[in-house]
Subunit: 268 residues, 2 copies
């Protein structure tokens, strides 16, 4: 079986000093440097592969300190604290001795409890009834996802006509791949910058910090398989060079898998 | 002039090795250990006091690794990366050589740009028309805040009758204090655990990770002064021991100052 490009991209090699060596992936390239979602997944993978790992990801925050250069990077993941059922990780990614990403993660052993989704999946047409996203630019990572925008797709005309930043879309890996924590982490960053949608204006942007809350455990991810996810994103405030983006990802069955937030730099 | 209890609580003493020494504050005590908001503010203060600080806070994530014991703690704040206009911090708080908190922060020089609040302040009665929160328990930190719950206040009867986790409230320091980044950070954690509101049932809880996005700069905070803030919080998912909480804080003038998120452990 051919290795999926995502698995190739997040592959890390253990080093003797306990760090991991990875390589940026041309398949997940963005306009400048790699897609942030793949970098986040690589950082998370250093925890997922760690021999001391306790439980499954509950929370991840990645801070993009610099654009990665094409080539090798090193990742250090340190379990700063291990409790009975939770574990706290500090992660740092370096290139040429310089920090390019900082992150923290919390992993935990989860137990069955009273549960309820308060944020329900919005009513949407089925994936097969929603056309594929039209090519907006020859950006490599976009080809690694099947994107079917329902509302708030990438503007076709940049005419400053936007009035809401809300987007809803169906998304899955392309080619399809069974969902796991790493791929879900990458998909959490799939939403185009809200400032594009709100303003129908193209300005320089870059995610500064992203937080992912994993509500689903491995069993629920397995049930989702390679099915579509429904994604929803909107901004709450755009202010003096930074805006936030608050998003949800549901399984095709309507289970809320992830809630995720980011703060993004923008110019002008 | 008498020092405000908040300023006493977040005070840090510089150590020769570049770390900071602080002390838990009885005035901000919670049921077990200190109020998470004050611990977050102490962690942020290690960045705010740092001689290398560039700009103002844009983003902060704190992970509560263990309940703090009453007494001294040490904080290390390291600028992992300093760019032209942004700076990336890794923060760790220790007691008796053990990590009790991990955190990352991004600070930045902000410039005036096109700006808009997409999430408007909800229509609410004025603070003077909203009665003070009735004493729910003799918890010390609650006395440090003037809380005027509009909807979703702490249940008066724990009868499992809840059906929504939405809360809206007016809040400010008690006694009033001019707002700054540290106090805003603490207030971001003022919302009672959503599981109490949703279930009207008391279960053990503890915040695991909290992220704060600061949309306001120092100038806007100065304009807010010691006026009331309108806070709003709700959960999106409760699942197998963890729920999220997504919140906003507006100035009394209707400016969105902070959007903040947390993931919280709960039992049963």
């Amino acid at each position: 079986m051919k290795t999926h490009p995502f698995d190739k991209a997040i592959k890390l090699a253990a080093q003797d000093d306990g760090t991991w060596l990875g390589h940026t992936s041309a398949a997940y390239g963005n306009m400048v440097g790699p897609f942030g979602g793949i970098t986040a997944a690589q950082a998370l993978n250093a925890v997922l592969c760690h021999p001391d790992l306790l439980g499954e990801p509950v929370s991840l925050t990645v801070n993009f300190a610099a654009a990665l250069s094409d080539g090798e990077f090193s990742v250090q993941a340190r379990a700063a604290r291990t409790n009975r059922s939770t574990q706290h990780w500090i992660i740092e990614m370096l290139q040429a001795g310089q920090t390019v990403l900082t992150a923290t993660a919390v992993t935990a052993l989860r137990r069955e409890t009273w549960s309820v989704d308060e944020e329900s999946m919005p009513a949407c047409p089925l994936p097969d009834d929603v056309p594929l996203q039209k090519g907006v630019a020859p950006i490599e990572f976009v080809k690694r996802y099947e994107l079917r925008p329902i509302v708030g797709g990438m503007p076709e005309v940049w005419d400053a006509s936007g009035h809401s930043s809300l987007s809803q879309l169906w998304v899955r890996d392309q080619p399809p791949r069974a969902l796991d924590f790493a791929s879900l982490c990458a998909i959490a960053d799939i939403f185009f910058p809200r400032v594009f949608i709100r303003r129908s204006t193209h300005v320089p942007v870059g995610t500064v910090s992203m937080t992912v809350y994993f509500h689903a455990g491995a069993e629920q991810l397995a049930k989702t398989g390679d099915g579509y996810l429904l994604g929803q994103a909107r901004a709450q405030a755009f202010r003096n060079g930074f805006f936030d983006q608050t998003s949800q990802l549901w399984s095709h069955n309507g289970d809320l898998l992830v809630t995720t937030h980011q703060v993004v730099y923008y110019k002008e």
